[in-house]
């Protein structure tokens, strides 16, 4: 019963989401490209499953399962710690909206090895497809630019993905991509929810046993 209601809410969300056309199941892998190029931090829910599927729940990705609002700042701490590696934060519109101040902090620090991708479906998919602020008109790319992040893009159709994939790999400052996608289900991937085990495996893979 609840599943039927959720599906109905998602269909209503899809019908209402003009301009949100990309399929995240294809768009995220195409934008990220060779995922091994990055150390990755994701938000919870959808973006965690996007990256879990893409990397096979790989040790070079740290996926949140709670602590909503932490993704961008974890990415900053990691990027400052590892200037020799590129760091990708892939997070959702709801998760990013919870920590908009982080965009200001990141803009001030401006590490050149950090890329933030916001997978914006205009909705809180995990909680029943309620509209998010972006679905009601808030433009996160303009907020990122207003915060002072100089390299920003919105990608809303497939024609921007190839250039976007290069964009998140280059530049001499932090970059931000708003990836608009349709409000459809993220991949059904069972990722590891043990935050401590995931920390250990990330550090073991990156730093060796310590």
């Amino acid at each position: 019963m609840q599943e039927m209601q959720t599906a109905a809410a998602r269909r209503a969300a899809e019908a209402a989401a003009a301009g949100y056309v990309l399929d995240r199941l294809e768009a995220v892998p195409r934008l990220v490209g060779r995922h091994e190029d990055f150390l990755i931090v994701t938000g919870l829910a959808g973006t965690a499953r996007d990256i879990a599927r893409l990397t096979g729940d790989g040790a070079h990705a740290y996926l949140l399962g709670g602590a909503m609002g932490a993704a961008c700042m974890m990415g900053l701490g990691l990027a400052l710690a590892r200037p020799d590696r590129r760091v990708l934060v892939l997070t959702g519109d709801g998760e990013l909206l919870m920590s908009l101040g982080a965009l200001a902090t990141i803009a001030v620090m401006n590490p050149p090895n950090l890329a933030i991708v916001c997978v914006d479906n205009g909705h809180y998919g995990e909680t029943g497809w309620q509209r998010s602020h972006t679905g009601l008109g808030v433009d996160l790319e303009r907020i990122a630019a207003g915060a002072g992040i100089r390299a920003t893009r919105t990608i809303a159709d497939a024609s921007g993905l190839e250039e976007g994939s290069r964009f998140i790999r280059e530049g001499n400052g932090t970059c931000f991509v708003l990836l608009r996608v349709a409000p459809t289900e993220p991949p059904a991937y069972k990722r590891n929810l043990d935050a401590s085990a995931c920390r250990d495996r990330f550090r073991a893979a990156l730093l060796g046993a310590r």
Binding site: Y62, G69, G77, A81, R82
Partner: protein, 174 residues
Amino acid sequence: MDTAAAAPGWQEELYAVLRQNGVTQFAYVPDAGHRVLIDRSLADPEVHSIPLTSEEEGVALLAGADLGGARGVLLMQSSGVGNCVNLLSLVKGGRFPFLTLVSMRGDFGEGNPWQFPMGQAVQPVLEAMGVICLRVERREDVIPTANAALTMVFKSGQAVAVLLGQKLIGAKPF
């Protein structure tokens, strides 16, 4: 004149101890109680001095630093502890090492009643989220406590808050 302005020596020493222990990320919301540490981090080309818009950003930042093998410290006032609570889920669930220095308000001799609700809640709130609190009230205890905290955090992987009380840093009369 408050105690900190009269005797900045322990703050200089505290910065040196943090640096000797490999701390390279100093995150803070600007605060008078941490002025010396903040200024030293800004002037030090070998560390990242990271101004935050809100303290919870620092909790996530330090977890990210740990993933990359770096050590950091979060400098905040007692009121900032309240902003950190849910993100401490990351520290507790992920068993991330976590070090914060908290300059207390709403405590010994406080003259601003707005500071009391959070000031008095600091220790129970931190302890409820699994953060060990070490309180410092005397100048001679600062460095030994900092060394103890550094060992607990970076050798034993614990989450530790050093609470710098108003007997030490001086109570504000406003």
